[in-house]
């Protein structure tokens, strides 16, 4: 247990403290570091402060910049949570259902981490989410560097109710016209957002990038199936070689991923 735990919005941390799951000896509030509560532009990228709240990210001026992140932030919970919860906190908690995480994964965002004595290092967000790299003692997430793509982006989330709720499945999809790429990430079905790389490359090769950025309608449905199969693979065949059925709940999850990916691509290209 570290001697002190940093706290920003506290929407995850304080819930754990109140439930008696966590008893930090001390808390260090990050709320007054105004430097990380805004954003700035840097070489075609945006440098987002880790202290940006979901409410701030959800506003129209930010939505014009990174629409998918804004949509994810607006879907992230009731207003009380969005007013307090921060981007950095969402990354640090790394919950499977963290709403901004698939967007950051699809955008291939980079974390800029501040360490003791002014040390600074960078880490792709996917490395932290996958557990390939971790925050060390005394380190804080300072900024998140996100490319500005100037193209449609979509975030879609399926929940159990009409009001705010935990994602059953979420899909983030961004177009990168400069690199003629489509990048997609699926959240909530696995401990970290999943990237269906082959499906991305396949659909990018079908898009008419120089014309109206369209694909044939059949390709939308096929993309959805491709993404779903990548995230929730078919079960291994039985010993006698007969194909196995997914359990009904998992099959439903897979259909939902397919529907969301298809809808997301359709909206991005429309």
């Amino acid at each position: 247990m570290p001697a002190a735990v940093p706290v920003a919005g506290g929407t995850d941390l304080m819930a754990a403290v109140n439930a008696g799951l966590l008893r930090p000896a001390a808390l260090v509030g990050l709320g007054r570091i105004s430097e990380i509560r805004g954003w700035q532009y840097l070489d075609g990228h945006a440098l987002l402060g880790a202290g940006l709240t979901h409410a701030r990210i959800g506003r129209p001026d930010f939505a014009a910049l990174i629409p998918a992140l804004a949509a994810a932030a607006r879907a992230a919970g009731p207003p009380q949570i969005r007013n307090a919860g921060t981007l950095g906190g969402n990354i640090a908690t790394s919950a499977p259902t963290g709403d901004t995480l698939p967007v950051l994964a699809a955008l291939e965002a980079t974390l800029i981490i501040a360490g003791p004595d002014g040390a600074r290092r960078e880490m792709p967000v996917s490395h932290l989410l996958a557990g390939m790299d971790m925050l060390r003692g005394g380190e804080l997430i300072g900024y998140v560097r996100v490319p500005l793509l100037h193209a449609p982006q979509v975030f879609l989330k399926a929940t159990g109710r009409t009001g705010p709720g935990r994602a059953l499945v979420s899909v983030a999809l961004v177009l990168d016209p400069a690199r003629r790429g489509v990048r997609c990430a699926v959240g909530a079905v696995a401990p970290m957002p999943l990237r269906p790389l082959e499906a991305e490359q396949w659909i990018a090769s079908l898009i008419d990038w120089d014309g109206g950025r369209t694909v044939v309608p059949e390709a939308l449905a096929a993309f959805g199936e491709y993404v779903a199969a990548a995230c929730i693979p078919d079960p291994a065949p039985a010993e006698d070689g007969s194909p196995q059925q997914l359990p009904p709940g998992v099959l439903h999850l897979r259909r939902t991923v397919a529907a969301l990916a298809r809808r997301a691509l359709g909206r991005a290209l429309s």
Partner: protein
């Protein structure tokens, strides 16, 4: 769910009941402003509650108080080998640690049978069962000390499938079968031309009160103890506590604090009893405020139910016979499962005429969390099943589902499957007609795109092309007051002094509006404007629990009688002086006038500084228990409701949004239109939760996600537009005001209506509640 907050969010979309306004249409015409019965009087504490200044039990404080914590079992089924409290006792700040060895009186309690230990002694039978309790000078110390109690468990295999409970080893000395009712009514050999069958499962709804349990116990100098809790049945709680503490009932006093939401029996005795024990042991006031997790673990839930049905009908769709098997999962302890089973079996056919009925019901013990009284228990589960059967029958016969229902509805004079004749008003046909004829909400294509809330919410994944609309119907019924011979008596006192009336009655204001109603009754009877309702404690005579519309009926009846007795005391001397009977005198606006207006005097003058008191009781006509064939006049009265649900379903991902619920309800008489609409909205919203999202999951007997993120209550966005299209006012002659219970029947009916609408939208069978997304998906 106790979700009054979410429910009131829909008020704006509700049309006021027809023919009712703020001014009272009082036949007697004694009062001019919004007073008396029929007026939308506001609750006296509404402002304080809205502003957050209303003191609940969690806000109480006493000098030198200690904090309590309860250690609960992490296992659903285990043998306790040993309990070592030495380490916990040695912690600084800990003042007392108690276990089953420290219970001086009876060690078990229960609402029906006393089968539940105060603290588990040898065996734990469900996740969250109390094992020990601690009092310490700080809440954190108390929690840590509770965690430091070392319990050596021998973990046993839990029995969590109620179907296995019949064959399994007894989980309790009383056995695993809590009650079995084999109802037989009519000709067993009758068959219909058309037969439909179905298997239905209803999940575990939690009452989820907005305010979690809390209490304060204060020792008295005479060796007794006072409990300050949000009890809904204070006298029963007092008797239970007195037996547990081995004290006389006069040495235990329960003082009722503000009740933060109650759609079930409130305040779990699992912490209430230890609280008093700790106060007696330490000699200090002891307080406990439960966390949300403890609240989910501690209180009783709605019975998860498995139902198997076979309906026989003739070629025209008239019901010939209903066969059903109903299995209630009572959890580890009996609680009120016997009552829930009686309701489930008696109402298994619904408000339909069924000449032959063979219903078998069981309530069994498992290692799941205990089930108990939650609004509409028993009746809600069977309603979902019999309405699904009606839809299935309509589909098989090719008849409109509402038309099929219309051909079978019961009316006054028909028989229940229990052999009891329905003597109260039963305007079921009128209710169904009202919801059928109500205009449908506009289709999405007729409303602007940005105003259309898609399933999945404003930021959800909904796509207009994948959304299908469905319309479905539900007809439901509940009984009022306790059944099967329960003595449903209540006592009330009315006092008048200096032109101000005070009502003293131990009926707890749980949000149902009793305190407001009591004021209205006294205003109506005595013509006084200023009426107060005294806070409730057990020094007052008992009024019984607040459930099934009891307090409007028996406590309201008692208040009216007491008020009438005061009226007679007040008018008798005058009537004698003027040589006329008291009936010819009227009281209005502080004046007493004779029928012809010749004589007039002020109330103040007539009172002449006197203080007038009267106490009265109200006891409804007796009922009888169901016999071994499930027959008997078990119910005092019945209430009915018809709901038409309109839903939008995203058929690719299975998300459902309830667009509108049109409600027509049999209310007997409207006593407070504003309050009545609020109760119906609250009930409907609780039903929508049961239909779509509310299910406390307990895989292998362990409660999963006991928090309000995992357990999804309806929010303002989930609550549909609730349109009260008709309130049928046909007075029930045996009820004191002719009024019927209003809160429970919408809870019972709305889940069935929502499921019916989802069935209509998707063509899927929808045989499980809450409706899972995969059950609402249309593939291919």
């Amino acid at each position: 769910m106790s979700n009054e907050g979410a429910a009131t969010a829909t008020t704006a979309t509700t049309t006021p009941p027809p023919g009712r306004s703020e001014s009272p249409p009082d036949s007697a015409g004694r009062l001019s402003g919004p007073h008396g019965l029929g007026a939308s009087l506001r609750s006296e504490d509404a402002r304080a509650k809205t502003e957050g200044t209303f003191p609940y039990a969690a806000d109480l404080w006493a000098e030198g108080l200690l904090w309590a914590a309860v250690l609960r079992s992490p296992h659903p089924h285990a043998r306790i080998v040993s309990i070592d409290t030495a380490q916990a006792r040695a912690m600084p700040g800990v003042r007392a640690v108690i276990t089953h060895e420290d219970v001086p009186g009876t060690t078990t309690y229960g609402r029906g049978t006393a089968d539940r230990p105060v603290f588990a002694a040898e065996v734990v039978r469900h996740h969250g069962e109390p094992i020990a309790a601690v009092a310490a000078d700080h809440p954190d110390t108390a929690r840590m000390a509770a965690a430091a109690v070392i319990v050596d468990y021998e973990v046993l295999d839990p029995i969590t499938d109620p179907e296995q409970a019949f064959e399994a080893e007894p989980l309790h000395p009383d056995g695993n079968l809590i009650r079995h009712i084999p109802l037989r009514h009519g000709d067993a050999d009758a068959v219909g031309e058309t037969v439909v069958e179905g298997l239905y499962r209803i999940g575990r709804q939690d009452p989820a009160p907005i305010g979690a349990e809390a209490g304060l116990a204060v020792p008295r100098p005479d060796g007794g103890v006072e409990l300050y809790v949000a009890s809904t049945d204070p006298h029963a709680d007092r008797d239970r506590a007195a037996a547990c503490y081995a004290l006389g009932a006069e040495h235990v006093k329960v003082v009722v604090t503000g009740v933060p939401g109650a759609t079930a029996d409130r305040e779990d005795p699992g912490f209430q009893l230890p609280l008093g024990l700790l106060a007696l042991k330490t000699g200090c006031p002891v307080k406990l405020t439960a966390t949300r997790e403890e609240s989910f673990l501690g209180h009783a839930h709605r019975h998860p139910t498995l139902l198997r049905y076979r309906h026989h009908a003739d070629a025209e769709g008239r019901l010939v016979k209903v066969e059903a098997q109903i299995l209630l999962d009572a959890g580890a302890y009996a609680d009120t499962s016997s009552d829930a089973l009686a309701a489930a079996v008696s109402f298994a056919c619904g408000p339909y005429v069924v000449p032959n009925a063979f219903i078998e019901g069981w309530a069994v013990r498992t290692n799941n969390p205990p089930s108990g009284h939650v609004r509409g228990e028993g009746a809600m589960q069977v309603c979902a099943a019999y309405e699904a059967q009606m839809d299935k029958l309509a589909r098989k016969l090719g008849v409109d589902p509402a038309e099929l229902r219309m051909r079978n509805v019961m009316a006054t004079g028909d028989l229940l499957p229990t052999g009891q004749t329905v003597t109260c008003p039963a305007p079921v046909a009128e209710l169904l007609t009202a919801v059928r004829e109500a205009p449908l909400p506009p289709l999405p294509k007729d409303s602007p795109e940005d105003e259309w809330l898609l399933p999945g919410g404003p930021e959800g994944a909904g796509e207009p092309g994948a959304v299908r609309r469905g319309v479905g119907y539900g007809l439901g019924m509940v009984h009022m007051l306790g059944a099967e011979g329960a003595d449903e008596v209540s006592t009330a006192t009315v006092k008048v002094q200096d032109g101000v009336a005070t009502v003293i009655c131990a009926a707890v204001e749980t949000g149902q509006g009793f305190a407001t109603l009591a004021r209205q009754i006294v205003q109506e009877t005595l013509g006084l404007e200023e009426v107060h309702v005294a806070p409730v404690d057990t020094d007052q005579p008992p009024a019984g629990p607040g459930c099934r519309g009891r307090h409007t009926w028996v406590s309201g009846g008692a208040v009216e009688r007491a008020a009438k007795m005061v009226r007679t005391q007040l008018l008798q001397p005058l009537a004698h002086k003027f040589g006329m009977s008291t009936e010819l005198l009227q009281i209005a606006d502080g004046k007493i006038t004779s029928y012809d207006g010749v004589l007039s005097t002020t109330v103040e003058e007539a009172m002449d500084g006197k203080e007038l008191w009267a106490t009265a009781q109200c006891r409804p006509h007796p009922t009888e228990p169901l016999d071994e064939a499930g027959q008997g006049d078990a119910f005092v009265g019945l209430a009915f409701c018809a709901i038409r649900a309109v839903v939008d379903v995203d058929v690719e991902i299975g998300s459902v949004r309830v667009v509108e619920l049109a409600v027509a309800q049999d209310v007997g008489r409207v006593l407070n239109p504003g309050r009545l609409a609020a109760r119906i909205e609250a009930g409907v919203t609780q039903g929508v939760g049961a239909a779509l999202t509310e299910n406390l999951r307990t895989p292998r007997g362990l409660v999963r996600h006991p928090d309000l993120t995992g357990y999804a209550l309806p929010t303002a966005l989930d609550a549909p537009a609730i349109r009260i299209v008709k309130l049928v006012e046909e007075r029930d002659v045996v009820a004191p005001f002719g009024a019927k219970a209003a809160s429970a029947v919408p809870v019972v009916t709305s889940p069935a209506a929502v499921a019916s609408a989802v069935r209509a939208a998707t063509g899927r069978p929808v045989n499980r509640l809450p409706i899972r997304p995969q059950a609402a998906v249309v593939t291919g």
